[in-house]
Symmetry: C3
Subunit: 275 residues, 3 copies
C-alpha cells in the first residue's frame, strides 16, 4: 500500500483578496491531491522577509516532521534562486533563496542537503517571471509530498552559499532592554523581539512589574501567564506561544491603541517602581 | 478496512492575519491527517462568546452528524475548564467551558456525556497558558476524529455543572417587537435577534411591510424571500438561512449604511402604514 | 478500488467574516469528504459578476482537468436557473445561469452538455431562497465530484439559451489604447483590461516605455518582466500570470496610490517620449 501523502504547510504574503493562494492550491490538487494543505497564514506583511522567516521558524514545534514547508515572501521574485532543502529533522523546505527559509532550517535541525529547483519535470511551462509559486515552488513541494526525492528537483547547492538572515537582537544592559515591536494581533496584543532569556540577561526575570516605554506613551505592565490574569484596562506582560514577550491589556482595552505602537517602533523595558 | 476519519468543523475569533489558525491545522495534520477540516469562520467578533455560540448553533443543520466541532472564543483562556461533549445526534463538541458550546449542544440534541480534557496522552507538552487551542483543544478534537473514545480524554463532568448561555430575547408586545442587531455582512445586510415565531407572537406575520425604527434612522421594509425581490435602494425584510430576520436593501445600496446600525444597536419593528 | 474523489474549486463573493463559506464546506464534507477543496478566493468584489467570470476563466490553466468548479456571484439569487455544465476539457462547472460561468466554459474548451439542477436527490430540503449555495449548488458539485453523472442532476438545457457575458474590450487606435482598471492587489499593483495582443494591435509592442494617463495622474512606465526589474518608486509595466497588463512600481511604493486609481477607472496608454 502506498504511504499516505505528506502534509504541505504554506505561508506567504499573497493576501486573500485575489486568486494567488487559490491557484497554488489548484496546481497542488493536480499533483498530490491527498496531501493535507495547511495555510499557516497569507497575511504576512507585504514583502517583509524577516517577518515571514520568524513566523516559519517559530511555528516549527507545531509542524509534523514529515511536512513539506513552503514559505514565500519575495520582493525580488524572478531574480532569486528557487531552492529545496532537506533538514535534519526530516522536514523539507521550499522557497526563494532570499533568507525567508533560513531561520526555519535552523529551527528544524540544520541543513542536510540543498538543491536549486530547475528540473523540467517539475517546473510548469510556460510560466510567469512575476509569479513563480504556482509554476516552480508549488510543483516542487507537491512532488516532494508525493514521494519524489529531493535530488530529482535539480542540482545540489553548497549550503554555505545560501542566503541567511541575521536578526536584529534587542540591546541588553543591566536592568534595561531596548527592543522593538515585531507584530500585533486583532486583540490589540503587541509582540516584541524580546525572549525570556533576554529578561534573564538584563536581570529582570524576577521583576513582577515592568515599565514599557515608547516614544508615544508608556505603561507599567504586570507579569502574568494569560490574558485573563489582568483587570479591565490593566497592562500586562506574558510570553506568547512562540516564546516572545507580548504586551497585553485586560479586556476590553487594546494595548496597541493604548501605547500607540506599530511594527518597527522602539520600546525600552525596565523594572517598574510600582510594586 | 479502517473507517474514514471524521470531519472537524472549526470556528474561532482568532482572525486570519497571524499563524494561530495555521498552527492548529498543523497540529491536526500530525494526528489525523485524513480528516477534512472545515473552517466555519475565524472572524467571529473578538471575545464575543454569544456571537460564537449562536454561529455554532445556527450552523448545526449544515454539519454532518459524524463531525467533531471545535468552537473557541475565550476571553478567559487558561482559566476555564476545557471540555469534550458527546451529543445525542452523534456529533462531538470541543472547546472551553464558558458557554460558547452551549447553544450548539442544544441544537445537536442535548448532552449524552461530558468530560474535562486532562489526559496526558492528549495534551501536548510543554504548552502555553495563553493559547490552549493547539495544545489541548485541537489534539482532543483530532483524537476524537481519528476514533478515540470520549472517555479517554479525561474524567467525566456532570452536565449540570457546565456553563450555559441565556440569550437576550427580543421584547414582544401586541404589534411591536423590540430587538437588536446581531450581525451584518459585506453586502450591508443586517441580521436581527428576531425569528419568524417572534413575528407571529407580535401579530405581525401577515404584515406585507414593516417599519424598522432605530435611534439613527428608520425605514419601511417590504417582506420578501430573497435579495432580488427588491428594487434598487428599496428596503426589505427576508429570513436568512439561519432563520433570523435580515434587513436588506435592493442593490447597490446598503441597509447597514442607510440605517446607520452596528451590532448591539436597538431596533423597533411595527406594522408599516405603507401598503 | 474506487477512483479517488475529484477536486472541487470554489470561488465566490461571500467574504470571510461570516459562516457562508464554512457551511458550504460542511455540506460538502457530508457528501464527498475525500474531495480536496480549493478556495480560489471568496473576496471577489461583492455582486460583480464580470469580475468573478474573468477570475474563473483566467484561472483555468491552473485547474486540474478532473476538477468540478463552483462559481457564485449572484446579485439575483433565487431568480436564476442553477446549472451544471460539462466542458470539452473534462471539467464540470456549477453555478447560477447569470453569465458568471460563461468565460470559464469558453476557456475550458466549450460546452459538451448542460443541465438545470432540479433533482430532489440532489437539492437539500428545506432550503433558503436567499442562499442557494449550500442547498443546491454545493450538493450538485459534491455529487459530481463523488462520481455521479451530470444528467442525474436535472433536465438537459439547450446551451444556446444560457446567459453569456460580453466583455468590455479596450478601444484600440494607432498608437493608443483606451482601457480600464480591472482590479488591484495588496502590493498596490494595478490590473488593466489590456492584453499583450492589444499592445500589438496598437503598434505599441516594441515601446520600451509607455505613458499611462488617468484623470487623476499620469506616469511613464518602463516595460519589464517582474517587479524586481524596477528601481524604488519607478513605474513599470509587466504581464501578470493571468495575461493582463499590470502597472507596478518599484518597492516600497504603490502604483495604485501613486496614480489614484480604482477598479472601473479609465486609463489611456501611449508610447512614452521618455527613452
Amino acid at each position: 500500500m502506498a504511504a499516505p501523502a505528506r502534509p504541505i504547510v504554506f505561508a506567504s504574503d499573497f493576501g486573500l483578496a485575489n486568486e494567488w493562494v487559490g491557484i497554488c492550491h489548484s496546481v497542488m490538487a493536480g499533483i498530490s491531491p491527498q496531501s493535507p494543505i495547511v495555510d499557516l497564514t497569507h497575511l504576512i506583511r507585504p514583502l517583509e522577509v524577516q517577518s515571514g522567516a520568524l513566523l516559519l521558524a517559530d511555528s516549527m514545534p507545531y509542524i509534523p516532521e514529515d511536512a513539506v514547508i513552503l514559505g514565500v515572501v519575495d520582493p525580488t521574485v524572478g531574480k532569486d534562486r528557487e531552492i529545496g532543502i532537506a533538514t535534519s529533522s526530516g522536514r523539507h523546505l521550499v522557497g526563494p533563496d532570499n533568507g525567508v527559509l533560513s531561520l526555519a532550517w535552523e529551527a528544524a535541525g540544520g541543513i542536510d542537503a540543498a538543491v536549486e529547483i530547475t528540473s523540467p519535470d517539475v517546473i510548469r511551462s510556460p510560466h510567469a517571471q512575476s509569479f513563480r509559486a504556482p509554476d516552480t515552488l508549488w510543483p516542487a513541494a507537491a512532488h516532494l509530498a508525493a514521494g519524489r526525492a529531493l535530488d530529482k528537483l535539480g542540482p545540489a547547492i553548497e549550503p554555505s552559499t545560501l542566503n541567511a538572515l541575521t536578526l536584529p537582537e534587542p540591546e541588553i544592559s543591566d536592568g534595561e532592554i531596548h527592543g522593538e515591536v515585531l507584530d500585533f494581533n486583532r486583540f490589540g496584543n503587541i509582540q516584541l523581539n524580546v525572549r525570556e532569556s533576554d529578561l534573564e540577561r538584563a536581570g529582570l526575570e524576577d521583576a513582577r512589574c515592568l515599565t514599557i516605554k515608547a516614544t508615544s506613551a508608556s505603561a507599567d505592565a504586570r507579569r502574568g501567564e494569560t490574558y485573563a490574569d489582568f483587570a479591565p484596562g490593566e497592562y500586562g506582560v506574558i510570553f506568547d506561544e512562540r516564546g516572545w514577550i507580548e504586551i497585553v491589556r485586560g479586556n476590553p482595552e487594546s494595548a496597541l491603541e493604548g501605547l500607540g505602537l506599530s511594527p518597527g517602533h522602539l520600546v525600552w523595558i525596565t523594572r517598574s517602581r510600582v510594586p
